[in-house]
Amino acid sequence: MSLLNIILALPFIGFLLVLFIPRTATGTIRRLALIVSLVTLIGSLGLIGAVLKSPSTFAFERDYVWITYPPIHYHVGLDGLSIWLVLLSTLLSPIAVLISWRSIEHRVKEFFAFLLLLEFGLIGVFVALDLFLFYVFWEVSLVPMYFLVGIWGHERRIYAAVKFFLYTMAASVLMLAGIIYLYNKTGTFDYPILLDMLSSGRLLLGHTEALLLFLAFFLAFAVKVPLFPLHTWLPDAHVEAPTAGSVMLASVMLKMGTYGLVRFCVPMFPNSARENAPWIIVLAIIGIIYGALVAMVQPNMKKLVAYSSVSHLGFVVLGTFSFTQQGMDGAVYQMLNHGISTGALFMLVGYMYERRHSLEIRDYGGVATPAPWLAAVFLVTTLASVGLPSLNNFVGEFLVLQGAAIANYNYVVFAAVGVILSAVYMLWLYQRTFLGREPSGFHMPDLNGREWAAILPLIALMIWMGIAPQTFLPVVSASNARTLSLSNINREFNVKTTPVTVPLVEAANAR
């Protein structure tokens, strides 16, 4: 039994345990959920060592036969790309439990059961090395989130939950078709074997064939990211979800999409990915600017943060499809940054909601006077989200822009506008809620111990990741270098490529 298997199994065991606790014992349920997620977190720290040693290969790789025919395997492993995303999931799960401690009073048992099931699904998505297993986890993580939004959400929760489910489902069935097609061609679902077949030329895909497969996978991931114009489910789901749901959705679940792009779309169908990069990047840049502009005019705090996610994730897609080492590193780093800073923003907005039961910006003002610590923490998070140097987002956005500049300077001109706009909407939000005059009858207690415990790790990480990115980046780079080199080897088998990519590849190789 490898550590990774244990980490994956723990939340599921926790889920089963919660199911067997009587529903009236809410205290026990909360404590159990916290203990299970904390143990998972502590255990997952033990995963780092092995990945640091060889980030470009899969550590803790385990391969068991699940179904004999067709050969579906339980095949899991961790490399430099997935390790931090797994840690992000295990870190945010206990935080999600903490922030739901008091705010969830209704149907407590189901809530924490679904939260643990969600953690199981998310970790599974990031460690699965069998396409079929990946799809299973991908869909399994959908169900608990659907219930989290639909049962414990705000007024329009049902609409939001159903929209979320249908969007993801409709897009991912085509990925399933793609997976089956690949299997019928190769006789395997195994990701490393497929990569090996592609890179050695044993599996040759025709131009149209590869393009359709790429689009089938890309669509599923693009909806999840979400890429403009497929983003419309996201504001609804975020606004209506309970705080813990928003946090898990923004921090971890959206990363399933970007992870899928980097893990599957780019290395498996490199030629199609390169050919289609221009329009994908255009959509990403539209998303960056559009998301920021829409965020600016939102009267609702959660909606503002939700649209800022659309904008931030545009950077991730931009970096990924720049096909440069810097761009990809920045993209992966930005996934983590977004997970931490947007997760923190949703938590802080949730704290404010618990105090005043409103998400409208106009119901706030001058919060900094009664609650200075809340204001300070919010400010740090705001600045991180804006991309202030020495905080985490700066590193990611810088790398993405650098990579995009290598690909095409015009991309940067437009994308950088997004950075400026993010400063506008975030600082304006801070100004309108925390500064100025307090509304009458304003009761705003400062952060309590439990809230501190939930937010502090994220603040610490924002600073750490901003000052010392070298702790995290080398592993990511090594794994991205492998992805890029895989996409190069492939090109030799297919002469037709877009000319713009050639200098990029050399730049990547030169590193």
Binding site: V140, I151, I158, L176
Partner: protein, 489 residues
């Protein structure tokens, strides 16, 4: 032809499930007047269960010595065993759900259980039939019992409508099939499937492919009706809505699975030489069924009607596997039918429980708050619905996966893409039920909700466990299906 027409012992042994069921059914008819009114419900219920479990045992044991019986009229192979076991298990689940229902409706148990047992007998014959006359006899035994069951509560208007519609349209469709059988006999001089295949494949004596194709099309009308595939699905919503809920559960699974069994056997043995003729027909029927079923289900308010439309869509998915016209396709269809039977019976069992006396509570809104009042029932129904959607770790997902894998194997890319998109559409109406159960506060319908009766509870748990086992460890069933699919030629 051998001169000795007397069947040997081993042939009776292969026919044992049908023998047990026929004797039990007749015995129950005799038992009916001998028991007093109060004891009758329990006695007949239990006799039916014992008989079905006996038949289940016999069906499994009969497979230890597979082979033909009665001059090749029956073929007890893996395929037959698979479907025999499936229809008998569906029969058991239907009996379990019916106990409380009949008491609640103050209906006489007299012929009810006997009819279920007879219907299962007919389905077992269908599963093993290797000969057109046997197919027809099995189909009629099964259908006539179902016609009566559909109108079992004879004072109920909707029951009468249901039975009448089912009977009239059913007889009409059967006539088409019989006409097709007559054509085949006229063209080939045989009713034995293997023999028909041999004659069609031998160029010197083969009849015109156009004529055989016409016969195949005529028979298709009959089959399509029985499996409620579009464009012959019109009867299904009215009949399933009108019939007593446990009967709808039974009719939409058992007879359907058996009809698919003969359908597969006829088209994959006798008509394999003209595959290219009937594949386009199936292609169209499959797509049309999926679209009609799923899109019509979107707007339904009545749960029974919704499940009826969804059963049309599911027939479409199985037809996708048939369209693949390969052994993998047959295996996929077998697996899908097994998964479908459990999730559909399970969902209908919950409907039976929710409906109350006179089936008053059948709107989706009547489920409001079930998640809070009876969390276990709601959780089980959620498993069935997620399986009907095709979410991983349920039988329905693997069913769809194998079906569409078979279709892609056969290069049916468009059918696969359209089918998968259809299954995303389907997610909407199944989710509606989950939404109402969990995300709405309990309504007036929840106030007088009785506890789940032991019979329904047993049926629910059996179906749920089966759905999950098929979703998590599908290998066993799929391997068996794969092995049997290759055998039937």
């Amino acid at each position: 032809m051998p001169g000795n027409f007397l069947p040997t012992g081993v042939e009776f042994f292969r026919f044992l499930p049908e023998i047990i069921l026929t004797i039990a059914g007749t015995f129950m008819m005799v038992l009916d007047p001998l028991t007093n009114e109060r004891g009758r419900q329990t006695v007949l219920h239990n006799v039916a269960l014992v008989a079905l479990f006996g038949a289940l045992w016999a069906a499994i044991v009969a497979y230890s010595n597979p082979g033909p019986a009665f001059q090749n009229m029956l073929m007890v192979d893996g395929f037959a065993t698979f479907f025999r076991v499936l229809v008998i298990v569906v029969g058991i689940l239907a009996v379990l759900t019916s106990g409380q229902y009949l008491r609640r409706e103050r209906a006489d148990a007299g012929e009810y259980y006997a009819l279920i047992v007879f219907s299962v007998t007919g389905q077992c014959v269908m599963a093993a039939a290797n000969e057109l006359i046997m197919i027809f006899i099995g189909l009629e035994i099964s259908s006539i019992s179902s016609y009566v069951l559909a109108g079992y509560l004879r004072d109920d208007k909707r029951n009468n409508e249901s039975a009448l519609k089912y009977f009239l349209l059913g007889s009409f469709a059967t006539a088409f099939m019989l006409y097709g059988i007559a054509w085949i006999y006229g063209l080939t001089g045989s009713t034995n499937l293997t023999e028909i295949r041999r004659i069609i494949m031998t160029p010197e004596i083969a009849p015109s492919a156009a004529l055989v194709g016409t016969a195949a099309a005529l028979m298709f009308v009959g089959f399509a009706f029985k499996i409620s595939a579009a464009p012959f699905q019109i009867w299904a919503p009215d009949v399933y809505q009108g019939a007593p809920a446990p009967v709808s559960a039974f009719m939409s699974t058992g007879p359907k699975a058996a009809a698919f069994a003969i359908f597969l056997r006829v088209y994959m043995t006798a008509f394999t030489p003209i595959t290219s003729k009937w594949v386009p027909l199936m292609w169209g029927a499959a797509l049309l069924s999926m679209i009609v079923g799923n899109f019509a289900a979107l707007t339904q308010i009545n749960i029974k009607r919704l499940l009826a439309y969804s059963s049309i869509a599911h027939a479409g998915y199985v037809l996708v596997a048939v369209t693949a016209a390969s052994d993998i396709g047959v295996a996929a269809a077998m697996f899908y039918l097994a998964a479908y039977a459990f999730m559909q019976v399970g969902a209908f069992a919950v409907v039976t429980h929710i409906a109350r006396r006179g089936e008053r509570r059948l709107d989706i809104d009547d489920m409001a708050g079930l998640g809070q009042r009876q969390p276990a029932t709601a959780a089980l129904l959620t498993i069935f619905l997620l399986s009907l959607i095709g979410v991983p770790l349920t039988g329905g997902f693997f069913g769809k996966f194998y079906v569409f894998k078979a279709a892609l194997d056969a290069n049916l890319i468009w059918l696969t893409v359209l089918g998968l998109l259809n299954s995303a559409v389907a997610a909407y109406y199944y989710l509606r039920i989950i939404v109402v159960m969990y995300m709405r506060e309990p309504g007036p319908a929840m106030e007088d909700l009785p506890a789940v009766s032991p019979g329904v509870k047993a049926a629910l748990w059996i179906s749920a466990v089966a759905t999950l086992v098929l979703g998590i460890f599908p290998s066993f069933v799929l391997e068996f299906a794969g092995k049997s699919a290759a055998l039937i030629k």
